[in-house]
Amino acid sequence: MNMPTQNSGQADTADQAADAGAKDAVVAARGLSKTFADGTVVALEGASFDIAPGSFVSLVGPSGCGKSTLLRLIAGLIDKSSGHLKVHGKPVDAPRTDVGMMFQRATLLEWRTAIENVLLPTEIKRSLTKEDRRNAAELLRMVGLHDFRFSFPTQLSGGMQQRVALARLLQTGADVLLLDEPFGALDEFTRERLNVELMRIVAEVGATTLFVTHNIAEAIFLADQVFVMTPRPGRIASIVEVPFERPRSPSLQTSPEFNEVVAEVRDILGEDH
């Protein structure tokens, strides 16, 4: 386990630290803070971290701990209030093509078939080629929906809709994947199965993944590192390293070692959990 690296409110330290960020980090933050418009709500305070290429990071914590805010900052959907944030060595100031995002709801367009939904990101960039269509069909095969590629979202179950959304995320070609409670609205069984598939798929494409959840066991099961976050103000209280080998099977979650990590995270979050 690393000690939390926080530089809250120390702008000059943060400045120096910004250049000191690990050279090979895909996402690097120093003293990253976000205060919302009226200046009273500190959504995120002094977040500092480096995320290594291809690693899987879970962000876990209760609502209001800033995990969604952090994700939206990295996605370039909102602007930071202070601190430094770089993706692939370049400051984030707008949405970018090397970062892709997936939401709790599938946000599919119901007038498009599954494959047309998957093709949306490419369509926004340029006109489609045969190759794009083949690639989209291949991604749908990867998420197990090849037979449903001409179905409309309303003809698919909730879990299938999220699989389409995942295929769409991969179609963007982004190598930093931001997942905001992607399976949070699904039932326990579907969620567990999709989690296992998600691990397989992101390993296959070699993406760096940030996964937001409020489920501690899920966060640990999936990740190489767990950012444990606490609210008021939202901050990264601790970064917990997850020592387990990959590939992991769901039975890992019943082992004593696993439960030790759960206990550790719980401890950091405090007695509410």
Binding site: R72, A75, G76, L77, P95, R96, T97, V99, G100, M101, F103, Q104, R105, T107, L109, E110, W111, T113, I115, E116, L120, P121, E123, I124, K125, K130, R133, R134, A137, F150, S151, F152, T154, Q155, T172
Partner: protein, 285 residues
Amino acid sequence: MPAADADRGDRRSGLGLQQRRALNHAAIFLTIVGLWELGSRMGWLDPLFYPRPSNILRSFWLIYIENGNIWPEIYSTASLVLSGFVAGSVLGVSLGALVGLNGMVRRFVKPYVIVLEATPRIAVAPLLIAALGFGASSKIAIIMLVCFFPPFINTLSGVVNVDEQRLELFRSLGASKLQLMRKLVLPDALPVIMAGERLAMTSALSGALVAEFIQRDQGLGALIMTYTRNLNMASSFACIFTLTILGFLIFRFMEWLDRRIAFWNSEEGLQRVGARRRKRMEGLA
């Protein structure tokens, strides 16, 4: 056991549920018409205001076939409804989209919309005639006026109420304003816009009638006025039933159009369009 009896009876007659229902409806309808005819003949109903069904039927024969004088009026009313509807709703949708997409304009326009919405549009009809004179232009203006608001309001609210997460998705994909419009906002608003169009189409027919009542030169509205003034109630009823049929056809047409345009709201539409898209994409791949 009456239920069992009924059951046995049905099986013997060999009729399906559909046919039995149709029979029931026909029986009820004929009873009502029969009572009306009887009441009129027995003098329970004033035959001047409640003409016998048999007389109405004869009027149908007269105005549709023997004289055939209703056809130009149907054509006149229908073309009026169509042109006023198209003009009014195109204007409504485009202004609704324009206002909805521009926050500043929206804030400025909103109070006027509320005031105008509370005003019965038809009340303005005489003023429009005074301003534009008798003739087609003022009639179309009246229909445009009643057809404008439902699509305008619905388009406005449709383009304003776009799901926040979908907007974020499009922003994270780096979509331009135009792409956001074409690929998200407009298709998303289509079902609501179509609901407005259906409402507008229904009002269009009423608008046309009011315009024709006032101007009394041509159309079904004018024909009803003429027949009623001549106390030819049977023919008036024939015109009213003609309007019933016209209204029903318009309603079905709008329903059909809705299913075509916002196809994803019905299972039938999904199947139909899904099959077409599959064919198209398999041709491309």
